[in-house]
Symmetry: C2
Subunit: 380 residues, 2 copies
Amino acid sequence: MDIRKFSLPEIIFGHGSIRYAGSYALQLGGKRVFLVSDQGLERSGWVDRLLTVLEEAGLETVYFDQVYSNPRDTHIEAGAALYRESQADVILALGGGSPMDTAKGIAALAGCGGRIHDYEGANRISRPLPPLILLPSTAGSGSDVSQFAIITDTARRVKMSIISRSLTPNVSIIDPDLLDTVDDHLLITSAVDALAHAVESYLSPLAHALTETQALTAIRLITRHLPRALRSRDPDDMEQLSLASTAAGISFSNASLGACHAIAHSLGGVFDTPHGEVHPVLLPHVMRFNLPACTARMADIGEVILGGRLATDEETAAAGIAWLEDFFENLGAASRLSHIVPHADDFAQICHMAAQDACLLTNPRPATAADLLAICTEAW
Amino acid sequence: MDIRKFSLPEIIFGHGSIRYAGSYALQLGGKRVFLVSDQGLERSGWVDRLLTVLEEAGLETVYFDQVYSNPRDTHIEAGAALYRESQADVILALGGGSPMDTAKGIAALAGCGGRIHDYEGANRISRPLPPLILLPSTAGSGSDVSQFAIITDTARRVKMSIISRSLTPNVSIIDPDLLDTVDDHLLITSAVDALAHAVESYLSPLAHALTETQALTAIRLITRHLPRALRSRDPDDMEQLSLASTAAGISFSNASLGACHAIAHSLGGVFDTPHGEVHPVLLPHVMRFNLPACTARMADIGEVILGGRLATDEETAAAGIAWLEDFFENLGAASRLSHIVPHADDFAQICHMAAQDACLLTNPRPATAADLLAICTEAW
């Protein structure tokens, strides 16, 4: 295989690990921490809990809460301005993918200047960034272990994929206790996002032995533990979902993604569709499109899902995809694009933009804008 | 589960990746690189190749070659003195476990002062170390991705386990081409070392979903590809052995090891026995000792080795251990301790020291010095 890079933050994982946030910020030279979070986390009490941890460590805190689903370039610019003005040092985000990607964007501007658009694509950040600590509050985005940040360009109405080793945080503190205050809908959409990360990165031509086992682990854990976690909220099931999200993050951060994410980014840029609602709709269609190009790999996924192989790779792969469709339906997820976006008028433009998304470079089957449009039309 | 830490260096993996050593040294602020290697690597031409790469990047080099199998405290002190005197910056090691552990020891003394003995055990290094880049020339030690350095205390004649997050290098450059100049004996002992890392770390009570899949991957790859690599020297098989060593290193660095390594360290301290020659002898005996404490986990290992499960966990586990004994015999490895150490007179003292080795803390079955002595006597 060609030369591969594999990078991860230092990961602290486990119930109650939020209490280490202060000591890690101190280790990274922190005096005045720039905390990025949102109102949902304020209401659930986790922002106060974290502020107490930071205060007990003797740290000052500057708090930035202008965080929205599908973070925009304008939010990043506001955050970077406050970061500079307040002379903060370590950047710390508490939340799902949106606060974490907002924090990454702020770090990029703080370290490199310019506009966030300057860093769209792969490996465009070359200067050191402020120290970054991420505490995920959902089990899905994987942003806390990944080199990715997804930021909306408001002028072009497109979600930019910004991919750089520098966006891997210094430390990821993953505390499954934070899932206690996540409602069922967010638990499901996050887990399905992680499942899509695992499936797409396993099928990526950049996958290798160090990423593919993490991807298959994530698929196994989510398909087994998500239904149980929804029924019982058992701490062990919640922990397994956190591990699954981390494993999927390790995989996609280093092997990248595919057409499902490319389309989801474009849809999100135009309609502000929550990322996790797109995957249950698109993933089965994208998998069927990719099937001829990677039948044996798709059968590996089917085997993990089904717990065994059928007579041929084709059958195992197809049965795995059908199983996933049932799984999404049983979770109550939308199954047609028409359920989650208002109209299909912009699909040609959306697919044109998706064809330029960095994630499409690693789709296992080459796909044109017309191919993506056919997938969206089928899923409408 | 309890709170776990998971850390890795940035990994660059692939044929020809040695050519990136210069640019990574520059990225880490290097001007005058301290290169640690040995005469075997000089003879095989890899030291010259690396010196050329560094020179082309505009780097000065200070070369330290006082590296020996089972590196000693005295070598570390000599290296650290030269490092200080020469005002070098980035430390770079090229070689197997011995040059890499020597470089780690030098980095510890350069960053923290004192004697290397001060850092024996877990998490005793608290100050930042000089930037460290490791290029493994064998597929086995895993030192290039691990938090471990094993250094002999010459006064006590014991190998000290020094385990610290700070000993994880900044960058690990893993170029399977370097295996081309490794002879069969070193290829075997290295791969068996990696196999022992994978087995012991999978059975460790610190194992979790992020480490255990790497461990099982390593077991699968080594048992499949080592015989083929010995027959054909096919680049793909060599690459799979490199990946296996990396996966096993990721696992043991984060989940630690067990009784086999504890005894191997003590034997090595007294007899200078090459590490990789001890495992084929001891591993099956240690596995049988541990079997009652972790039958289901041992059966997972058996399943990977055998490609399926037998009627019960006990049978699968036992068949896996028996398969490994045959595997080691077919590789021509020694099967009795009496073949590799001159006498059994010091075994009581060796096992007394092994009982204090940090690796014994994570053996799946608690073991006293008397238990370890029984294992050694059985293996004599």
